[in-house]
């Protein structure tokens, strides 16, 4: 086994080691962060994404059109 291969193997162990250590620490850090933030800043704005609108579509059509027309004239 050449010197180069040896340093390659060393590099592999060091590299995979660091990658795992780094990402494992990131797992810990995320868990910690989520715990802290969910406790002290419990906003869940993303939930809003699933709220569906029940406004009558034709009303919307009129509003949209009005906004469009307003913008193209006044902006």
């Amino acid at each position: 086994m050449t010197e180069e291969i040896r340093s390659g193997i060393e590099l592999m162990f060091a590299g995979m080691g660091i990658v795992f250590i780094f990402l494992a620490m990131l797992v810990v850090a995320i868990n910690l962060m989520s715990a802290v933030l969910q406790r002290y800043f419990p906003d869940r704005s993303s939930k809003l994404l699933f709220v569906s609108s029940s406004i009558d579509k034709s009303t919307v059509a009129a509003i949209t059109a009005a906004v469009h027309q307003y913008r193209s004239k006044h902006y």
């Binding site: 050449t2 291969i5 590099l11 060091a14 995979m16 780094f22 990131l26 419990p42 993303s46």
Partner: protein
């Protein structure tokens, strides 16, 4: 008459070398793959075109005074890949990963492809005529990161001569992910494993999404400063996205700026596809090793998921392990598709996005290791 002769002597036909002709053919093949086969066209179209332009005889577009020569400075100085990485950061939603952080380990495991093919490159040195230095090997290994800008950044620092071949291999294999991964994924999993349904992901708050890129940057600063150019620009893009206070900068970063830089980056990469650099046994080695890197990374991700299932009660569908190589978002889609084949009600896409974006971080970390240890 003299004029006519001098004209004939200035034609491409008169001055063509075989190597240039072959490399232009390579450029046309890349264009064909990009346009007809849909292989990562955003990059492979400019790269292919750059290959053609830089191999035109007489014109010397890639030499001093030519456009591609000047554009290449953007790669040489590391500016283009970092700006693209910023744009990618502004496009990335870390929500699924934050909701299920242990999928980060899948993104770690999949980086094994990088180091295995690095070792493979060194091993190939036994073939007479092939001579990969440790730097070359590291630059080749990073193909396994399945992440274009990272590969280009590392290759431009460690082995600029191989940059063209490495970038082409990286983007081609990313386009081939839907072909490369499924057989490996099927071979390493049982039908029952592929049927595993995962519990729905929780909502992630805005605050978590804002803090995450800063935490990522801080960790990288403390542990691995050599990865901070990549991770830093990625985190900057993501922070611009999630902070919500600089929407116009975030939009520009993920649209016009990344588009402009993509054109320039593609052309500059193409300018490194010269006959002298590409028409070597090395290139075949790079292509072979790149394929291995993707395959090994995929396998490592899947196996890691199976190992994790041994130690945890909430099971992970091992298919999403394959998404750890990154190749965002194709690898996640592949995992989703295979999941649906086994269980038509099993949508794995969001679950696979976690290891998928973790893979981007993983390969940036691996890049940092290589840049700091390989000298």
């Amino acid at each position: 008459m003299e004029n006519l002769l001098s004209l004939w002597h200035s034609t491409g036909l008169y001055n063509f070398t075989g190597g240039q002709a072959f490399m232009m053919l390579v450029g046309f093949v890349l264009l064909f793959l990009a346009i007809s086969k849909g292989f990562e066209p955003l990059l492979l179209l400019p790269i292919g075109f750059g290959a053609i332009l830089s191999n035109i005889p007489v014109a010397e577009i890639a030499h001093e005074g030519g456009l591609l020569y000047y554009l290449y400075y953007g790669i040489k100085m590391g500016i283009f890949p970092l700006l693209i990485f910023m744009g990618v950061g502004a496009m990335t939603d870390f929500g699924p990963m934050i909701a299920n952080p242990k999928t980060l380990l899948l993104g770690a495991a999949a980086q094994f492809g990088i180091f295995a093919s690095l070792l493979g490159a060194l091993a190939l040195n036994i073939i007479p005529g092939l001579e990969f230095s440790l730097k070359d090997a590291a630059a080749i290994g990073i193909i396994g990161g399945a992440d274009g800008p990272t590969a280009i950044y590392v290759a431009s620092k460690l082995a600029p001569d191989l940059l063209g071949a490495i970038a082409v291999a990286a983007y081609s294999y990313m386009a081939l992910v839907p072909l490369i991964q499924p057989p490996i994924m099927r071979a390493l999993t049982t039908e029952d494993e592929r049927k595993i349904e995962m519990q729905q992901l929780r909502d992630v708050s805005k605050a978590e999404k804002i803090v995450f890129p800063l935490m990522l940057l801080l960790l990288s600063v403390l542990l691995l400063p050599s990865a901070t150019p990549l991770i830093g620009m990625f985190a900057l893009g993501n922070l611009m996205r999630e902070s919500g206070v600089v929407e116009r900068l975030s939009n520009t970063a993920q649209n016009e700026l990344i588009n402009i830089v993509t054109i320039f980056l593609g052309l500059s990469v193409g300018s490194k596809l010269s006959a002298e650099a590409f028409l070597q046994l090395k290139t075949l080695g790079i292509l072979a090793l790149g394929a291995c890197a993707f395959a090994i990374g995929t396998a490592a991700g899947v196996v890691m998921a199976k190992i994790m299932n041994r130690f945890s009660s909430t099971l992970i569908n091992p298919l999403i392990g394959a998404a750890g190589v990154s190749a965002v978002p194709m690898a996640a889609r592949v995992a989703n598709k295979l999941g649906l084949e086994s269980n038509p009600h099993n949508f794995l896409l969001m679950h696979a996005m976690g290891p998928n974006v973790a893979g981007v971080i993983g390969s940036a970390v691996a890049a940092g290791v290589l840049l700091s240890l390989v000298k």
